[in-house]
Structure formats: C-alpha cells, structure tokens
Symmetry: C2
Subunit: 301 residues, 2 copies
C-alpha cells in the first residue's frame, strides 16, 4: 500500500507501536504527542525534544523569501514547545539543498532561522548540510526543559472541560504561515496560572487536530461552530480545515472559565481567547451540529 | 556563488560565525565539532546533541535495502556520539518521502532504525513525516550525556601527540557504509582509561577529516603513509579520500602509547588500533611525505 493512501497518522501509529523503550528512562509524552517529554537523571525538570521539517513544494512554494522559510522552519518546532508549555534552549539545523542553490539564499535562510531562535533566546548549537537532487528541505530539532508539574500533553482532557483556542483560525496560507510567532509566552503564562488539562498547537487545522486531542484524552467533543474565531476574510470551512494556524487549543476545567477569561484579557489584550466548545463522554454523538462535507471532522474512532 | 563551488566547510564557517548564543548557556563544543556539547542547569553532565541525515542519491543509491538505510541513518549521528565519547539516550526521526513510497518500505526502514537504536539502548521518542516531490531523506537527531571530564572534542590535540585510528580505512562504499557499528564502546573505554586530547569520527575520509582536527587544535600533523591500516582490497588513495569509514581518529600523549597498545589488544583483540603519525607545530611543512594528487590532504590554512 502506498503512503498517500494510508495517511500519516495511521502509518505512524503502526510504526510507533513497535518502537523500543530504552532502559531506565521514563517517557512522559512520546511519539503520539507534540513533543517528546522524558525524565532524565539528576534533573528536576523534564527534557523536551522535538524535530520538524519544511520541504519546498509542501510547506513553502519555490521563490518564497529565504528568510521567511528559515523563520517558519524554526517556529514550527517552537510551536510544539508551546503546546508542551516547555522552554526551548538549543536547536540543530539539518539543511538539504541542491548544489546549484545560491549561497546568498542559504545565508538569508539562516538569517530567518537566527531571528526566530533569538526571539526565544534559543541557541543554534549545530547543523549539518547535505546536497540533494531534489527540492530544498530544512529539518530543525529543538531541545529544552519543562517543570514536571507544568508539562502539557494531549492526554489529560476530561469530560466537561471547556475548550479554548487562541487567536484567529483560517486564512493562514495567505501570509501568516511564514510570519507566525509560536505561542510560548501565552502557554507559559497559562500553566503558571492555571491547571491546563490538555494542550496542543493547531498545525493541520482544528478539524484534524481536535480529534487527536480528544482521542489522546479518551473523550469526545462538542464544538459550537457559531463561536469559532474565524480570521477576517476566511470561511468556517477554512478555519476548520486549512491548517497552519499555529494557535493553541487547550482543555481546562469549566470552573476556571471566568477567572481565565478575565485574567487573559488583562494580560493579552490584543490576542483573543475563545471558548469554542467542550469535551464530553466519548459515546455521545457530538459532531451532530457540523454541516456535511467536513470529512476530517469526525469523532475519534 | 553556488554552494557546489563554495564547499560545505566554508559555507558553514561563514554562517556559523553569526549564530547567536543564548544567555546563561555554556557551550563546550559547538557547530564546528562532531556534536554540540552544552552545560545545563542542575546537571553534573554535559548535554550532547547531534543531527545528521541520509539522502537518496547521495548517501545511498535507489534500491538499497530499506533496513540498511535505516541502520545507516541512525548509526551516523551515533558515530558522532562516539567521537564525543558521549552516551546516546534519545532519538527523533524526520522522514521525508514521496507519497508513492510503499508503506512496507517505510516499515523496513524503521526496522533498521530500531535495530541500530537498540544496539546502544537508544529510545526513539518521536518523529515527523513529510511528503516530497524529490528523493527520500531521513534526518535523525540524537540527545545524550557525557561526564564533563570525559567529553572529547576536536580541539585538545597538542604538538607531539600520537595519532591513532581504529579499524581499517578505505573500501567502505562497497558494503561497510551500510553495516558499520558506531565506535561508542571503544570510545567510552578510551576516555575511561586514558586522557584523550582530541577525537573525531572519520566520515569524509582521513584526508579531509584529519586537517579539521588539526585546525581545531591549532597544530600541524605528520602522517606515516606506510603505516596506514588500508582495508583489504583498497588502495592508499581510497583509505585517504573515499570516506564513510566511521572509525575513530584520536590524539593522545606519546607517553601513553605503550600502555594504550597493550591494553587495547587485550580489550579489543579483533579490532586493530594503529598509530598513523603525530601532531606537530603548525609552522612545520608536515605533509612533505604525501604523494601528489591528494588535493584534500593539506595542512590547515
């Protein structure tokens, strides 16, 4: 069977079932989550690891400003750090480029990588380059830490929790996907002040990502479509399925709702925080309100 | 200027000069070394980071057994851990594949990745996949630790040190480049029992790699060509410039020579350890013995 027919989620599910576990290492969150979060000896914090890549023709079109490409390549794994409420420290860059690429292009790429790293005081400690006969690809892996009680994963959502998203959804492919800032500041503030039950970043679109959070938490969900914070000029369809939003989606006790909304408005007056629905027991048919056509937008099987 | 004309070393030199340093982080070895080796809070050991990739058409030919490709993709960064005398713990895999790739191929690839990881009790804690219109590429990033007094880099070589290599050089492209085992056991034994002044793994060939070690140590070198451990069926030319040997090259005080050779023979009776020359003061013209034609094989500028 070809990969295209199988789908990334299912292939990874199959493969990762068979991955080995090292001895003496405790894995808090693993390959099914945004970041890997592991316990290490002699350290009160978890070690947090994430790798991600951008590929020409997939994550950016030929001719995109190289500095924007670098920014995006660095911000994507940093957005996963936001999802884990982790603090990034070090980055490694793997650069796969054709030999006819202009050196000036690569310098601009690194300018974008550096600017994005600087934004969160991340040090680029190493890199590797390889030639290729194909399109340009840049993989960035980031290492950092998170306090054990503040580590967020997709798994802790509970029936009855409110679901919130930051910012606006949809329309990111126009511009935002090359310019976004990982929601690390917001995420760190959230776990400092509240008990966040489950969290992730929205990279594939709410319609694909929310079912992953629900599945990991073993609950169902109920979305109030009329409350979705749809970007100016975008449609509900795009807000659900376009992807590349890099906003936070999280679950929090409904008892915290009022305090959260008040404190958020004071702390981040320019960034909306929207309650879009709730988690519920899995058996319930919760997507009854969804219009037809959102094939991605299904309850977890 | 095109990358092909510029060369990887010079481009990386130029780019990495401008990389930022995060605050409060001490970098023992950075982007010019085999691994990044950094100090982290609350931990007596250094954190060690390395990423590397294999690309179809560059590091393996189309049609290569997928399990061998996975093995090589994992062993390459592990070989850099051997160079640093570090213990690897966690790996992340970035897989860039065309959608028409067979899922069975990917499963075999992961079988090779897992087998190589298991060999050193490394846990694959996460991964990411992307489609591409180009050739297959696999990037593996590995995280681990090393005791501060045992961390090896390319930088500590001293004038008068003996230069040793493990195993045989040359002819690796026939078979060995897909089957090699990173010299982690040997490297850990070396730093446990001896003071290793400088060390690296030979991936691009002695003729390219030794000048890098000498340059990082700010010394010159003198090679005894007649003593090179040339693989069965290979030539001196191949032993110097073919690459993909993944053997260790290290510098050690000449006072330790006899004790090292005796203890090594008892510990690793099947693996030769060969003294191939020495480090000397930079001003000396040390490559006078080299036959013409080895353009790579020059003193550091």
């Amino acid at each position: 069977m070809k990969l295209g027919a199988l789908g990334e989620d299912r292939l990874l599910d199959q493969i990762l079932l068979h991955l080995p576990r090292g001895t003496g290492q405790k894995v808090f969150a693993g390959s099914a989550d945004d970041c890997a979060i592991v316990e290490i000896p002699e350290n009160k914090k978890y070690l947090v690891l994430k790798t991600d890549c951008v590929v020409e023709g997939v994550h950016f079109v030929h001719g995109t400003d190289a500095s924007d490409v670098g920014w995006k390549a660095m911000m994507r794994p940093l957005s996963d750090f936001a999802a884990a409420s982790a603090v990034p420290h070090f980055a490694l860059v793997t650069l796969i480029v054709p030999q006819q690429t202009n050196a000036a292009w690569v310098r601009e790429l690194y300018r974008g990588l550096r600017r994005a790293a600087n934004r969160f005081e991340v040090t680029i400690v190493g890199g590797e380059t390889s030639k290729t006969q194909g399109p340009i690809a840049i993989a960035v892996s980031v290492t950092g830490f998170v306090e054990k009680r503040r580590a967020a994963s997709r798994r802790g959502g509970r029936s009855g929790d409110d679901l919130f998203v930051t910012g606006w959804l949809g329309g990111a492919l126009k511009q935002k996907h090359l310019k976004f800032v990982a929601r690390i500041v917001e995420s760190r503030w959230l776990t400092k002040n509240f008990s966040i039950h489950a969290m992730m970043d929205l990279s594939d679109g709410l319609g694909s990502d929310l079912p992953r959070l629900a599945r990991a938490s073993k609950v169902g969900f109920d979305i109030e479509l009329e409350n979705l914070p749809v970007s100016c000029g975008a449609t509900i369809d795009k807000a659900i399925s376009e992807g590349e939003d890099y906003e936070l989606l999280f679950a929090i006790s409904s008892q915290d709702r009022t305090r959260l909304e008040q404190k958020w408005r004071r702390k981040f007056p320019k960034l909306p925080l929207t309650r879009i629905g709730s988690l519920n027991r899995k058996s319930q048919i919760a997507n009854r309100k969804l219009p037809g056509g959102y094939v991605h937008f299904q309850q977890p099987r």
